[in-house]
């Protein structure tokens, strides 16, 4: 009846996960009860859960990423403490826990923090920057988000029911095969990634179509803001790379569920297929994450330097070059498997070639600052911090792309330090820069600058104090994923790293305080102009937060930096506005399809993990029925009458004009 699920799946004998899981469940229940008692449920359902508005979905993606960031961060703290104390002892985490923790940390940070964070920002910003009213497929967008949330739910469920994978975040067979990992851990891992992977694919298709097919009048390709370009490159990679992950995990699951022999030691299975396929996805994946971050830095550096982006076309070329080359370097993840000198050298050089367009980007940001008038707001601090940190990460990256150097650095703590250097220094700094930069657009008030800067400095310093020691430990031969060790020279570095982790924890506290303080002071931080940073692209041309239809009149673009030019023009013409003619606007109706579909997907995923077959069928039928019901509806759009549009837009313009006349200039 319940497959493999029994009471023994709940770790009553293990206090740490049980307590952690218990606290999370209690907290969730408390929030849920508060929502219901306070009567917020209908509002939440109407305005958020069933929303197909790209801005709302973007915000929910970022919220999911933030929550999961706390979970992944806790894992990191546990690991750092373990390695600091497990010298000639077992530490406080037995291997079966420690191994779950580093596997979960990697999986969560990549799939449920970095991915939803950048997808969320892209969702929120790209339609606004393109001057359109929504993404290409609004309902599918909601489905994509909720499927990602399903994946995150399953990963967290493994904390309380059963176990998570103990194989590392890529679950290499044969270790992840049924023979060596008979538990449900790998199944949790694989199914949560399969389900959220569908969500990512949908998001990718949606964004590609949006950028290529839905641009406002005059928004030629070479007028798009840089963030739209990097979004395009990143989503193209999602579309091309995620199916590879899906296929690879499908093969692993077939091995585990039906006794197939793709990657088993027996009957001619071949683990090298897994290695090649997983990295054929895995390497583009890092560019899926970092390209949008590059886009964010481009926007931020140009805005706060008060200059257009330097060498815009060169940047476009560099972005697309990275997009293409990222598919040709996967083998550098296993130089040490003995592929032969020619293969190693070719892939090593290909990997270095990616550094060329990346270096060009750094220099172009540098020259964007040159001759600028730089305002050091929080987003700008993140950007400068990124440029410095990322160069160092790039250096160590090119270093491990040199095969003979990789022969002694592969899988070491040096490598761990390297990819944290580029992922924290690149993706996370970018996510935080984007978060503070676009927060006023999403919510209508700015974030507190003092706490924001404190968070930046804690992260910046904490990062170096944590990861320089890991570089050092790698140079001392320390390999990754050690639950304990007996080598004395590693110890001091692990202790320094834990101090760095404490500083990073303070940084997270600063972020939370920043949010709380900003919400409390929201009236004084209110952005009434819609353009708090003196921005350059179209998202600043509408109010903050934008109306559901984004733009009352579709903007007409005449050049790069569309909004900057509109402002200049308006200044020239002394703000003599012609009265625009407002028209009815059709917007997509809200739909619970995404939520209901994810509900059935959660049931199906859980049932698959525990081999509860009747429940799998139930989930499948439910998901299909949801789509049929969705397809059956007769009215998928509603009309906002021109009069309403006019009223909202005039109020907005009036407010802006008052502010402008108060200030005397824009």
């Amino acid at each position: 009846m319940l497959g493999k699920l029994t009471w023994s799946a709940i770790p009553f004998d293990q206090p740490i996960p049980l307590v952690a899981g218990g606290v999370v469940i209690v907290a969730l229940l408390a929030v849920l009860i508060w929502v219901v008692v306070k009567g917020h449920l209908p509002y939440l359902w109407r305005e958020w859960i069933t929303s197909v508005d790209h801005k709302r979905i973007g915000v929910m993606y970022v919220l999911l990423a933030s929550v999961m960031f706390l979970r992944g961060g806790s894992d990191a703290i546990l690991m750092r403490i373990q390695q600091a104390i497990a010298y000639q002892s077992q530490g406080y985490l037995p291997p079966e826990h420690y191994n779950q923790i580093f596997s979960a940390h990697g999986t969560i940070m990549i799939f449920f923090v970095a991915m939803p964070f950048v997808i969320g920002l892209m969702n929120l910003v790209v339609p606004l920057q393109l001057g359109v009213r929504d993404v290409a497929f609004p309902t599918l967008n909601s489905v994509g988000f909720w499927l990602t949330a399903t994946g995150a739910l399953l990963v967290n469920l493994s904390l309380v029911i059963g176990e998570f994978a103990r194989t590392g975040w890529l679950a290499f067979p044969p270790l992840s095969g049924l023979v060596y990992s008979p538990g449900v851990g790998v199944d949790y891992y694989a199914w949560s990634l399969q389900i959220s992977g569908v969500g990512t694919l949908v998001a990718g298709i949606n964004l590609v179509t949006t950028v290529l097919k839905l641009r406002t009048r005059g928004m030629n390709y070479l007028r798009m803001p840089m963030f739209c370009w990097t979004t395009l490159a990143s989503s193209l990679l999602m579309v091309a790379a995620f199916p590879i992950l899906t296929a690879t995990l499908a093969m692993l699951l077939l091995d585990r569920y039906l006794g197939f022999h793709f990657f088993t030691n027996e009957a001619g299975g071949n683990v090298m297929i897994f290695m090649n396929l997983i990295w054929a996805w895995g390497h583009p994946e890092v560019y899926i994450l970092v390209l949008p971050a590059f886009g964010i830095f481009s926007e931020v550096v140009s805005t706060f330097s008060g200059k257009p982006l330097f060498g815009y076309r060169s940047m476009v070329l560099a972005t697309m070059a990275i997009c293409v080359i990222s598919f040709m370097v996967w083998l550098h993840h296993f130089f040490t498997m003995g592929a032969g000198p020619d293969v190693n050298a070719i892939f090593g050089i290909a990997s270095m070639i990616i550094a060329i367009p990346t270096g060009v980007k750094i220099y172009n940001w540098l020259f964007t600052m040159y001759g600028g008038r730089i305002r050091f707001t929080t987003p700008m601090l993140w950007s400068v911090g990124f440029m410095v940190t990322f160069i160092i990460g790039g250096l160590t990256g090119v270093l491990v792309a040199v095969p003979p150097a990789d022969f002694i650095l592969h899988n070491s703590m040096f490598l761990v330090a390297h990819f944290h250097n580029v992922i924290i220094g690149g993706v996370l700094f970018g996510a935080f820069a984007g978060f503070t930069y676009w927060f006023p657009k999403a919510f209508g008030f700015r974030l507190d600058e003092r706490w924001g800067k404190a968070a930046f400095w804690c992260t910046f310093i904490g990062f170096y104090v944590t990861f320089i020691p890991l570089y050092a430990a790698g140079m001392l031969g320390m390999t990754r994923r050690m639950q304990h060790y007996d080598v004395a020279v590693w110890r001091p570095w692990m202790i320094v790293a834990v101090i760095g982790m404490a500083i990073l924890t303070m940084a997270v506290v600063c972020q939370v305080v920043q949010l709380v303080v900003s919400i409390r002071n929201r009236e004084s931080l209110r952005d009434r102009t819609g353009d708090p940073w003196d921005g350059r692209s179209l998202e600043w041309a509408t109010s903050s937060p934008p109306p559901v239809f984004n733009f009352a009149i579709s903007p007409d673009v005449r050049g790069e930096d569309a909004y900057w030019e509109m402002k200049a023009k308006a200044r020239q013409q002394q703000f003599a506005h012609a009265q625009p003619e407002y028209q009815d606007i059709e917007m997509p109706r809200n739909s619970p399809t995404g939520f209901v579909c994810a509900f059935f997907a959660s049931i199906m995923g859980f049932a698959l993990i525990w081999h509860i077959w009747w429940m799998v069928i139930l989930g499948l039928i439910g998901a299909w029925a949801t789509f049929v019901v969705f397809a059956w509806r007769d009215h998928d759009e509603y009309v906002i009458p021109a009069a309403d549009v006019a009223r909202i837009d005039r109020a907005n313009i009036e407010e802006r004009r008052n502010l402008v006349s108060l200030a005397g200039s824009v």
């Binding site: 790379a241 197939f260 001619g268 076309r313 009352a552 050049g559 049929v628």
Partner: protein, 215 residues
């Protein structure tokens, strides 16, 4: 935006090289184009997924673990009939698209039904082939080669099954709602899907059954 509406013709650095002619983008594409385009992107991603299974099959082709080879297992006559069924169904699917375009319900139902029946025959033949293989001890767990074979061909079969489910849903939709604009868009996607399955089958036929049965 009001400001936008008054924006004049300033060029700024829209054309820093002063190449001259800049063709203005006309604005968002119509819905039918957007939907079709998005579905094309999906199909490309699906083909990427299939190519992984093809790659695995190519690598594992020789890994028979002392079990039967492709040449001993494949029945070319059966495969030929399967191929004919699918190719014909692509033709009838095209007929259905034309019938929908000219809003002819009768021809639409007929063509769709023919497509569905041909698809079902294909599935039945494939199922019979699989069952026979399993019965003679050449199931997917026998060797890595058979694992890759069953996965690749089975994955295509699952796609056809999903396609038939979709086909029936579309017939019901047209029956209940008629040729509405949104339903026409879905029909377009369905047709793309069905034809794509045909193309993938051609690859399966060549790589799996033709190349795979060379001793």
């Amino acid at each position: 935006m009001a400001i936008a509406a008054t924006a004049g013709h300033g060029h700024g650095h829209g054309d820093p090289h002063h190449i001259g002619l800049v063709i203005e983008h006309p604005g968002p594409a119509p819905k039918r184009v957007v939907t079709g385009f998005g579905f094309w992107i999906f199909l490309l991603s699906d083909i990427v997924m299939f190519s992984c299974f093809f790659a695995a099959y190519a690598v594992l082709l020789g890994q028979t673990a002392d079990g039967p080879k492709g040449a001993e297992l494949f029945d070319q006559r059966n495969v030929a009939i399967e191929t004919v069924c699918l190719l014909l169904s692509s033709f009838t699917c095209g007929m259905a698209s034309i019938a929908a375009d000219v809003r002819n319900r009768l021809w639409f139902y007929l063509a769709m039904a023919a497509t569905g029946v041909l698809g079902l025959i294909f599935l039945a033949l494939e199922f019979r082939e699989f069952a026979a293989l399993v019965a003679r001890g050449a199931g997917p767990t026998r060797s890595a080669f058979l694992t890759a074979f069953f996965t690749l061909v089975g994955c295509h079969g699952l796609h056809v099954t999903a396609g038939i489910l979709w086909l029936l849903t579309m017939m019901a939709q047209v029956f209940a709602k008629g040729f509405r604009a949104d339903i026409m868009r879905r029909l377009l996607c369905f047709a793309l899907f069905w034809h794509a399955l045909d193309i993938i089958w051609v690859a399966v036929f060549s790589v799996v059954y033709l190349l795979g049965s060379t001793p």
